[in-house]
Symmetry: C2
Subunit: 448 residues, 2 copies
C-alpha cells in the first residue's frame, strides 16, 4: 500500500487499547498511547512514555477504548435508499416482489448518493472497511474515494447479462484496484450460483485469476438453496463454486448458511472465507449459519450486515452481538466465548476481505484504521468487563472518533469528510421514484 502523505502524526492518548494476540486471545491494555504516523500505526506504548511533541494532533482517549475499526464483510451499501420498503415478507417475495422490482428504478447517481449515505452511517458506527457488492460501482468507488474509508468493491453480475458484463466489470477492476491511496481493492462479483450458470461462473473465475483479484459471491444462502442445487444438478452450491474454479481465487462467500459438513471441508481446503450476516437470517427465517463449525474447521469468518433492506442498518456491532447470541442459542451458552467473537470481528474479518496484514489489529506496522469508543455511557457502567461491553452493551452511538489510513474521518461524532445534510437532501429527492414497485420490471427472478 502506498504511503499516505496527507495524513498527519496523531497521538491517541491515555485510552484502553484492545489487543489481539496470536492464537485468538484478546487483551485490554489500560492507559496506553497509540501513535499514528502517515497511514500506519507506529507505536503502542504505556501512556506518557512517548514524546508528545512529535504529534501534530493529540486525541484524548481517557475513559475510552482504542480498537480496530469494524469491518463489514458483506453489504450492498447503496441499498440504504430502499431501507424499510420490504418488511414481513418471505425470501422469494423479498426478491421477486420487492428488491428486484425496486432495483429496476436504480440510476447511476442513486448509487453515488446511497453509497455516501451508507458510508456516513458506517463511519458514525465505527465501520471503517466494507466489502460491497452492487451495481454502478464506479459511483460507489467515487464515494469511497471522497469519504476516505476503505472498501473491497465488486460490481455484481448476473449470468443473464452475458459475457459482456465480465468485460465491463473487468474495466472497473483495472481502473479501481489499489486506487484511493490503496484504500480500494476491486473484486470480481458474480451474484450467485443460482443466477449465474456454470459457463458464466467459469469465465468469471478465469478472469479473476488473470486479474489476480478475489471473488465475492453469494452461495448456499439457505439449506433450501443447497437442497435445490443437489436436486437439480447433484451437487451443493459450494461444490459448484469449487468445480467452476471460483474457489481457486481468494473467495469471499456471503452467507453459506446452508453449507454442509463436506462444503466446510471444501472451504477450508481452498482458504475461502465466509461473510456472516445474522440479522438477515433472522428476519428472513433463513436458518442459523454453522459459524461454530466453520471456526472449528479453521474456515475464516467475517462479520457483515448485508443490505439495509433486510438488515435494516449497517451496524456491525449488531452483527457481532447477533452472531454470538444465535450461535449460543443453536449450541450452548458456552459457545462463541468473548475472545472468539472479538477475533471474528477483528482479524477474522480483516482476513475475509483480504487484508489480514493491514487491518483488524492495533499494533505497530498495521494501517491506522481505528476507532475511539466511549466507555463512560450509563449503559456500560460499572465497567467490570470491557470485552462483555463491546459485544453485549455498546451502541454504535458510543463511537466517538474514527481514523482510516491515518486520516480523521469523524471526531467526537462530527463527520469530517461527508456533508451529511447534502447527502440526505439528495437521497430524499429521489425517494418517491425509488419506492415504485413494478414487479414485471424486476431485474431478475429468484427461483433457486
Amino acid at each position: 500500500m502506498k504511503k499516505n502523505e496527507t495524513a498527519m502524526t496523531v497521538l491517541i492518548s491515555g485510552g484502553s487499547v484492545l489487543q489481539h494476540l496470536p492464537g485468538g486471545k484478546v487483551n485490554v491494555l489500560e492507559n496506553h498511547d497509540v501513535l499514528v504516523q502517515g497511514d500506519s500505526i507506529s507505536a503502542v506504548e504505556p501512556a506518557g512514555t512517548m514524546d508528545r511533541n512529535i504529534a501534530k494532533k493529540i486525541i484524548d482517549a481517557r475513559g475510552r477504548l482504542v480498537m480496530p475499526g469494524l469491518i463489514n464483510c458483506h453489504s450492498h451499501v447503496p441499498m440504504v435508499i430502499f431501507r424499510g420498503l420490504a418488511e414481513d415478507v418471505s425470501l422469494d417475495k423479498w426478491f421477486n416482489e420487492y428488491m428486484w422490482p425496486l432495483e429496476s428504478n436504480l440510476q447511476e447517481e442513486d448509487v453515488y448518493w446511497g453509497m455516501l449515505l451508507g458510508l456516513a452511517e458506517m463511519i458514525e458506527a465505527g465501520v471503517t472497511t466494507v466489502a460491497d457488492h452492487y451495481f454502478f460501482m464506479d459511483q460507489a468507488a467515487e464515494a469511497v474515494k471522497s469519504a476516505g474509508t476503505r472498501a473491497a468493491l465488486g460490481w455484481a453480475m448476473f449470468g443473464s447479462q452475458g459475457p459482456a458484463i465480465i468485460d465491463r466489470t473487468s474495466e472497473f477492476i483495472t481502473k479501481w484496484n489499489g486506487a484511493a491511496e490503496g484504500r480500494i481493492t476491486a473484486w470480481m462479483a458474480p451474484h450467485a450460483p443460482y443466477t449465474c450458470d456454470d459457463v458464466f461462473l467459469r469465465a468469471a473465475a478465469a478472469r479473476a485469476k488473470e486479474l489476480k483479484v478475489g471473488i465475492h459471491i453469494h452461495a448456499a444462502e439457505t439449506k433450501g438453496q443447497t437442497e435445490a442445487s443437489v436436486k437439480a444438478r447433484g451437487i451443493t452450491p459450494i461444490r459448484v463454486l469449487e468445480e467452476t474454479g471460483i474457489l481457486d481465487s481468494r473467495a469471499l462467500i456471503a452467507h453459506a448458511v446452508g453449507a454442509t459438513e463436506q462444503d466446510i471441508e471444501i472451504l477450508r481446503m481452498h482458504s475461502s472465507a465466509v461473510a456472516h450476516c445474522p440479522k438477515t437470517y433472522l428476519k428472513l427465517a433463513m436458518g442459523t449459519a454453522p459459524v461454530v463449525d466453520f471456526l472449528k474447521a479453521d474456515v475464516t469468518v467475517g462479520l457483515g450486515t448485508d443490505g439495509a433492506v433486510s438488515n435494516n442498518t449497517l451496524d456491525v456491532w449488531e452483527s457481532m452481538r447477533l452472531m454470538a447470541m444465535t450461535q449460543k442459542q443453536a449450541h450452548e451458552p458456552e459457545a462463541m466465548p468473548m475472545d472468539q467473537v472479538l477475533s471474528v470481528a477483528g482479524p477474522g474479518s480483516a482476513e475475509a476481505v483480504g487484508l489480514k496484514n493491514g487491518i483488524g489489529r492495533i499494533e505497530p506496522g498495521m494501517l491506522a484504521d481505528l476507532i475511539v469508543v466511549d466507555l463512560d455511557g450509563t449503559h456500560l457502567q460499572p465497567m467490570h468487563s470491557v470485552k462483555a461491553s463491546l459485544i453485549y452493551s455498546v451502541r454504535a452511538s458510543d463511537v466517538r472518533t474514527v481514523v482510516v489510513n491515518g486520516n480523521l474521518l469523524m471526531e467526537d461524532r462530527r463527520l469530517l469528510t461527508i456533508d451529511k445534510q447534502e447527502v440526505v437532501k439528495q437521497v430524499r429527492q429521489s425517494m418517491k421514484r425509488l419506492s415504485q414497485r413494478v414487479p414485471a420490471s424486476r431485474i431478475q427472478v429468484y427461483k433457486p
Copy 2:
C-alpha cells in the same frame, strides 16, 4: 391515580405521533401537537390548531416522533452493578457459581445506587416504566420516587426464607402501593415455583388476594424446567401456579419459554400475562418462547429486559427487535408483523404491568408517559417507514426527551432528575466488593 400538581402544561409540537388503534392497528400521524396537562395527555391535534399560549413549555418535535414511553415488564434493575460478570456460562453455572454467590455481597445501599443507575440508563433509552423483581425494595422505591419514573415493584422472596418474608414484603406493599403520586404499584413477588414450595406459594397467593395486588413471578423459564416439574410432581410449573392460587390474582409471569399448549390455555383463562426477555434466552440458550402462540391465544405479552447480568443492558428497543426476529426465525418471515410487534411494546406491555388504561398509548385521557424520538439519524434515512425504523433501526440513543406523569425527566438527552456523575461514582466505589465470588455463600441453589 392522583393528579400531579407539580407538572406544568407542555405542548409537544409538530412531531409525528405513533397511534395505537383498537384491534391492534398502528398508525403514524404526521405533523401533530400533543398537549400535556397535569399528569395526563389532554389533546392530540393537527399541528397549529391548539392555542399555544396555554402551554408553559413548548417542545419542538419537528422531524421527531412522539410515542408512548417504553415499558420494561421484567427486570432486576439493581443487578446493573454486576453487569458483565457472568459471561459464556450455562444457566445453572450462571445461578450457582455467579449470580447467587455475587448477590450474597448485596447491601441495602447497593440496591439504591444500582436502581438509580439502571433508571438513568432506562430514561436515556426511553423506558418510562419498569416491573422490577429484586431485594431491599424500599431502597428501589426510594430511587423510583426521586427519579420520577413509573414502576411496579416486587420484593423477591424464596421459600427458604419462611413465612416471615411474606409479612415483610407485605409491609413493603402496604407502604408503597400507590405511592409517589401514584407512580409506584407494589406487587407480591415469590421467586419461582422451583424456589418456593406449594405451601409458600399458597400463602403468597392468599396474601396478594388480601392486599389486592398482582403477583410477579418466574416460571417455566425453559422447557427443561417444565420437564423437571412434570417428572418430579406430575404437573407443569404453570399448573403449579394455577393450583396454588397464584393465577387468581393479576399474574405477571417472567419468561414462560417452556409453556405447553395446555399452559397457554391456563394463562388465557386466568388473564395472566407473560414478560418476554429474548436476549436472556439467546445468551443462555434457553430456547425460543412461544410468543406467536401466546398472542394467537390472546394471552397478553409484554417486553422485558431481565437483569443486566444476562442482558447486558436495560434496552427495551433491543427486546422488541429480538422478539420480532426470533419469532420470525422460529416460524416464518411473515410472523410478527410490525403492527403486532409495536402493539406488544405499547398496549400489551401496559396491560402486563396492570396499567392498560393508564399508559402505552398516546391519546387524550392517558397518563403523560411519552418519549420524543429523533428520526433524523443517518441510520434511519431515508424514512420510507417509521414503523420499520422503530423496530429494526432505531437506537436507544435516538431518544431525545422523556416525560413521565407529566414531568420532564430528560430533555435533549440531559437527565433532569438523576445526578448521573454521583450515581456512577457511588456504584464504582463498591465494584471490588461486589465482584467477589464465594460460591459457598450463594443465596440459593439452582436445581429445578
